[in-house]
């Protein structure tokens, strides 16, 4: 401000005009992206909010009836909804914990020198780039109780056959194992990026002082990775809350709702049973939960930038 005030008035006016012109150009350049975002993201999101107040007829909207907050009240009293929230918490909790612990462990392994490094890197990163649907189907066969790899190995050690995807106890763990297998590559990349920022001087100093590897990790590396860990937790939570493809392909929410997360319930209510208004209310609640985590992520990212 001081510098600008110091300029002659003519220059200030010219600078202002340039600023306005640049601003207009900026909006012009941004407009295609904004238009796409408005049409395909903001618009549908607002429409979902709108139909959540209706007994919405998916096939003929003119037959829809305004019901106020009834869908939200039904949601509050729906045992299926609360069960799905429990299942979501189970799934998200396990995937976030697994991704963070294993992701960090593998990133540490990959950041150190060793013969297996390249093989592990390939093994961990490849699944992340494979299509969810295709690999989900492969894992359906791996978990097949009669012909699958897992049960075949268990039979070798005389463990009784387990119907992984048919059992209310084991279906969710099976789904979590698959999700970790598929998504671990992403968290490993993030942790590797975080590890590259850890001060080597401090690590060497610790080693010179006689610290063992575990002490080096605990007292030097982890404190410097705090923001990366928070970022991974937040981003994995958001991803897990939105998980759908593997549930749809591997278990269809079953057996007995054992893998019906809130995201899957939304699909079931809206597009299988045609309770579109009720499904929209679930979407709004899920959106609110995800928005909370997104805000958290933004804060973490901002504080990281600062």
């Amino acid at each position: 401000m001081i510098a600008e005030n110091a300029l002659p008035p003519r220059r200030v006016r010219a600078a202002n005009r340039r600023g306005i012109r640049d601003g207009r150009f900026a909006w012009l350049y941004l407009s295609p992206a904004l238009l796409i975002f408005a049409v395909f993201t903001i618009g549908p999101a607002l429409f979902v909010l709108y139909i959540s107040f209706f007994d919405w007829n998916l096939l003929n909207s003119s037959l829809s009836k305004f019901v106020g907050t009834r869908n939200y009240r039904d949601l509050a009293h729906s045992s299926d909804f609360w069960h799905s929230m429990e299942m979501s918490a189970y799934f998200v909790g396990a995937v976030v914990a697994g991704s963070t612990v294993f992701g960090l462990g593998i990133a540490l392994l990959l950041s150190s020198r060793g013969l297996v490094r390249r093989a592990v890197r390939l093994a961990v990163l490849t699944p992340y780039f494979t299509p969810l649907v295709a690999t989900s189907i492969v894992w359906v066969w791996i978990f097949n109780p009669q012909f699958g790899l897992v049960d075949s190995l268990l039979r070798l050690v005389h463990v009784h056959q387990i119907g992984w995807l048919q059992s209310t106890t084991w279906a969710m763990p099976a789904l979590i194992v698959y999700t970790l297998w598929h998504d671990l590559g992403f968290t490993v990349i993030i942790f590797l990026a975080g590890l590259s920022t850890v001060s080597n001087d401090l690590r060497e100093a610790a080693r010179v002082d006689g610290a063992r590897y575990w002490h080096e990790v605990r007292d030097v590396i982890l404190p410097q990775l705090t923001q990366t860990i928070v970022f991974v937790i937040v981003i994995t939570t958001i991803d897990s809350l939105q998980a759908f493809t593997q549930i749809y392909t591997m278990t269809q929410g079953g057996p007995l709702g054992a893998t019906t997360t809130t995201g899957f319930l939304l699909y079931e209510e809206s597009f299988v049973f045609y309770r579109t208004g009720f499904g929209a209310a679930i979407a709004v609640v899920l959106f609110a939960v995800i928005a909370l985590f997104t805000l958290l992520q933004l804060r973490v990212t901002r504080s990281r930038a600062n």
Binding site: Q146, L165, Q252, G253, P255, F271
Partner: protein, 442 residues
Amino acid sequence: MTPRVHNYSWEGAMHRHRKIVVAIVAALVAGVAAYAAYGASASTHATINISFMEAMSSGTQKPALDTLTKQFEAQNPNINVTLIAEPNYGVLLQKEQASVAAGQPPTIGQAYENWAASFADAKAIIPITGYVNNKKIGVKVADQQQIWKGVWKDLFLPDGKIWMWPFNKSDYVMYYNANKLAAAGQRVPKTWVQFATVAKALTKNGDWAWSTDTGTPAAPADGTIVMLSLIKAGGGTWIENGKPTLDTPAAVKALGFLADLKKSGALQLGTNYPGETALGAGRSAFDLSTIAGYPYELAADGGKFPMKVAALPSGRNGQGNAMAGTNIVIFTKTTNAQRAAAWEYMKFLSGAKQTAYWAEQTGYLPVTKAALPLMKSYIATHPYQQIAAQALQVARGNPPYAWWTEAEGDLTTAMQQVLDNGGDPAHALATAQQKALAAANG
């Protein structure tokens, strides 16, 4: 002031004349409307474009439908049919729903009975009784009577009108490994009681009798359909007076029967067509699935053993077979000329010659008895086709109610509770009935 009496006769005459004129005009309008609705295409020379959204895109289905469509277009040069092929029924339903919601549906589409009920509730499809019974362009009563009884009943919605026309129909049969039965000295079971006895006898040395998938509430599979057949075979019902009846004594008995098979190890549950896999691998002896799956069963077998086909076992009320496959519906947002052209195409596909060709090419069943004489040489080499086709006489399709999807899912849940978790059949079915009833009552 003009005396009223003088005008009375004039007014009366005018009134009478007006009535006659109105009656003539009304008759003309009705005639023109009826002609426009049911007979417009006969004299239309301009090209009429119609589209058919379908899921006949795999294996021999696509070339067979392409061939039939080309034949139709050759016979009807003013009608152009565009096939919109979808990869499976799930995607087909989503695409049909999306196109209806967007106000741009195809002219016609494949639909299961409960889909048709949903579409009709939303006024998205039209009844076709007027076309079917039309003297000029309809189907003669004698030809209607040739359509399998089960298939004919399947065309109606509860309002008594015809809303669908048959296309790719199939029903359930019993595939079996003839070697396994012979080795165990067992005969092919004809009743469910015999099936249980044979199944238990074949369950030994790590092998079992039958694998199936109950599916999930969102997507019930073969296991649930076999359960429905068992209910019917045992004298039970699926619906009565427009409401679900999932907890009848016959249903409790049927679920108890399956639970007993599961407990003995004769029945194993799985996902992703487990019956086909286990039978093909030589681990199980039976698979209960649709006749349309014959090529897939054959591929799974791979020539390792003689795989045979028999009719689904019967109960005290007969076979109780469940019909699979879809019908065709006409969507509302279409012109009269398109509807008439679509009807011609639908009628063509269900003709004896065409349905025979379709059956021979794809493994689906001919929708009319009139096709069987045309299939003599094919049936000689594929005798199971006749077994399955005859079962269409008694087979029943999905109840034509939009809520049936949910009710069927509730039955699947009950099955999982009993077969996977050892629940009590009566209790599980009572819970399913309660939920299904709530869905039916909206």
